[in-house]
């Protein structure tokens, strides 16, 4: 079966203007180093990393929201790296985005019915007024919102309900891929699970794929089939969920998992901190060797000199490390 999404050596660079001196100078910052992965139909890939690791950039590049510096993106087998104009517009119907903050990602001056119906309207799939109303009603029912919410404005809803509206909006066009950029991190802990469950139910019914970007490891574990770990714009480890959580191989993944607090204070106190506290790397600086070497307890001379390639160390389990755990 053709994967829904194939990313090959995708890289992204930003031009940054330094205004420190008398004359502004341009500098190129690589936000994303060549990155490759696949997402199968009906599969969820969790994309995890700390702030500034490039996970949002990766999501935006796949949706063609930021310029791609190199590599290619295949959507259902077709190269979309250079798609533009009406083709890009049609592709947008197939790939949708769920944004992080539901309070700011819905226009406060539009009714829920208009917000959910908008994708259909702009793609000319609205049909008659009555048909559109029917479609909107079924979408709202699908995401578990009461039918009378259609005539209301966003401010009348809670964060969890608004994120349901965001999901309904993303679903309106029957996309094959949804990039969810931290869809639950702005929500109360109590409603996170509900929204994630909803996303899973929809996936089961529709067979669509998710790229689930998050930093909350527990949520990623719940929803993902496979997990990719980003560090400083590089893919450091990618494997099935059980492998990542059960037997992480990259020292950074180990450190991430150890950073999750254990809900038992004495046990928590006894745990050792594996990752030394250090500042996250400066993305602008030219780097030699492994990006994680400065923070890594296992780093050797080789790590500081040579960048490790992403290598398969077990079936379906790849990591970029000279000394995997």
């Amino acid at each position: 079966m053709t994967p829904t999404l194939t990313v090959e050596n995708l890289s992204v660079a930003y031009e940054v203007t330094d205004r420190g001196g008398v004359w502004p100078s341009q500098r190129r910052v690589t936000a994303l180093h060549p990155l490759s992965f696949e997402i199968a139909p009906g599969e969820t890939l969790g994309l995890v990393g700390e702030s500034g690791s490039g996970k949002t950039t990766a999501g935006r590049a796949i949706l063609r929201r930021v310029d791609v510096a190199g590599g290619c993106i295949l959507f259902q087998g077709a190269d979309i790296t250079r798609a533009s104009g009406s083709r890009l517009r049609r592709l947008r119907a197939e790939m949708q985005l769920i944004l992080q903050d539901p309070f700011t990602s819905l226009n406060p001056r539009m009714r829920i019915a208009d917000l959910v119906g908008e994708p259909l309207t702009v793609h000319g799939r609205a049909g008659t007024r009555a048909e559109l109303r029917g479609r909107v009603a079924s979408l709202l029912e699908r995401v578990g919102l009461p039918a009378d919410s259609a005539e209301r404005f966003p401010h009348a809803f809670s964060g969890g309900q608004l994120q349901r509206v965001g999901i309904a909006r993303a679903l309106a066009l029957n996309p094959r891929l949804i990039v969810a950029d931290e869809p639950v991190s702005a929500l109360d802990v109590s409603v996170r699970a509900q929204v994630v469950n909803l996303m899973q139910d929809i996936q089961r019914e529709e067979g669509l794929s998710y790229l689930f970007i998050a930093h909350d490891l527990a949520i990623v574990r719940q929803i993902s089939h496979r997990v990719a770990i980003l560090y400083a714009g590089r893919l450091v480890e990618i494997a099935g969920r059980e492998a990542i959580y059960g037997r992480p191989r990259h020292p950074y993944t180990v450190a991430l998992l150890d950073a999750v607090p254990v809900p038992d204070p004495p046990a928590q106190r006894l745990r050792q901190r594996t990752a030394p506290l250090a500042a996250p790397p400066d993305m602008g600086a030219a780097m030699q060797g492994c990006a994680y070497a400065a923070r890594c307890p296992r780093a050797t001379e080789r790590c500081r000199a040579e960048e490790p390639p992403l290598a398969e160390i077990a079936p379906g389990h790849k990591t970029a490390c000279w000394h995997p755990v």
Binding site: L63, R65, R89, R92, A93, Q96, L97, L99, Q100, D101, T104, S105, L106, N107, P108, R109, M110, E118, P119, V122, H123, F153, H155, A156, G166, R169, L173
Partner: protein
């Protein structure tokens, strides 16, 4: 087909009817807004029906009756309710007739300059980059150029007329809209819901009209009202210089300007046209405030909440 069309026609008419009723009901929730609206309607009606309402010919002079005070003062003449000016013309009639030029110039200039300024601001703010720089430098140049000089220049070439005043005033007043709109557009552009709209597949036109423009309503209304006052006074200044409204026609601004010389002997010459300007601006303000709240769903809900609470409290006592 025909059957469904026949069924739809009356429903549309009734929808218009309910809309009108909804408008009236909603205006009723806000007493100041209602007052403003009614006064405005009255002023516009006064301008339209000036020939029927004015007791005298606004240009008729009478040396014998000059500088008569308002009717209720000693020496007042009951035929001239608000007194007469230095040439014996009836102040009330002049106010009634003057409403025409004043409202026409004020509204036309605000609409014309507003439309142009908003378009420039939308383009500059949305496109950004070099387009933005060029348009905004154009605004800077226009702002730094003394407006009255430009007006004198154009009017002395083209010749004074109502159309000339409108065009000339629009030409010197559009910049403020462009600046305000540009700023708002730039901030709204970065809002996540605009990105969401782009992802969904909205084109630039839809994003500007549906997602950005509605956010401009309140700042624009505020500026437009302030500008209306400015325009009325600017028109007075131009008319005072003899380049605007030409006698025997009149405007409120012209009356205020020409009555200034008599402030110490005949206060009513500046007071009544001045009051007319003030009342007009005040009622526009009250009504515009209602419009601003009504177009913002969040504010609107608050208003309903307030009036509901007020009714409940009233019912209790």
């Amino acid at each position: 087909m025909a059957d469904s069309a026949a069924r739809q026609a009356p429903s549309r008419r009734s929808r218009n009817g309910t809309r009108l009723r909804a408008f009236a009901a909603e205006l009723g929730e806000d007493v100041p807004g209602l007052i403003g609206f009614l006064v405005l309607v009255g002023i516009v009606a006064m301008a339209i029906f000036a020939p029927l309402l004015a007791p005298h010919d606004p240009a008729a002079q009478s040396v014998l009756a000059r500088l008569a005070p308002p009717a209720w003062l000693p020496r007042g003449n009951p035929a001239h309710l608000l007194g007469t000016d230095a040439l014996g013309r009836d102040v009330l009639s002049r106010i009634i007739w003057g409403a025409r030029a004043t409202l026409l110039v004020g509204v036309a200039v605000v609409l014309l300059s507003g439309t142009f300024g908003v378009i420039v601001g939308l383009v500059a703010g949305y496109v950004g980059g070099r387009t933005d720089s060029i348009l905004m430098r154009l605004v800077d140049i226009q702002v730094s150029f003394p407006g009255i000089l430009l007006i004198l220049l154009i009017v002395s070439i083209v010749g004074p007329s109502l159309t000339t005043i409108v065009v000339v005033l629009a030409l010197t007043n559009w910049m403020i809209y462009a600046r305000i709109v540009r700023g708002t557009v730039m901030s709204v552009r970065a809002a996540p819901y605009v990105e969401a709209a782009e992802i969904v597949g909205c084109g630039p036109a839809r994003i500007i009209l549906r997602h950005i423009l509605p956010n401009l309503v309140s700042p624009l209304l505020t500026v437009a009202i302030l500008e209306f006052t400015n325009v009325v006074l600017a028109e007075a200044a131009i008319s005072f210089l003899g380049l605007g409204v030409q006698p025997p026609a009149t405007s409120w601004g012209l009356d205020v300007a020409s009555g200034r010389d008599y402030v110490y002997v005949a206060w009513w010459l500046v007071t009544f046209p001045g009051l007319a300007i003030a009342i007009t601006v005040l009622s526009i303000n009250l009504f515009a405030n209602w419009v601003r709240v009504t177009t913002d769903p969040r504010e609107r809900e608050k208003r309903f909440g307030w009036s509901k609470t007020a009714r409940r409290l009233a019912g209790r006592s």
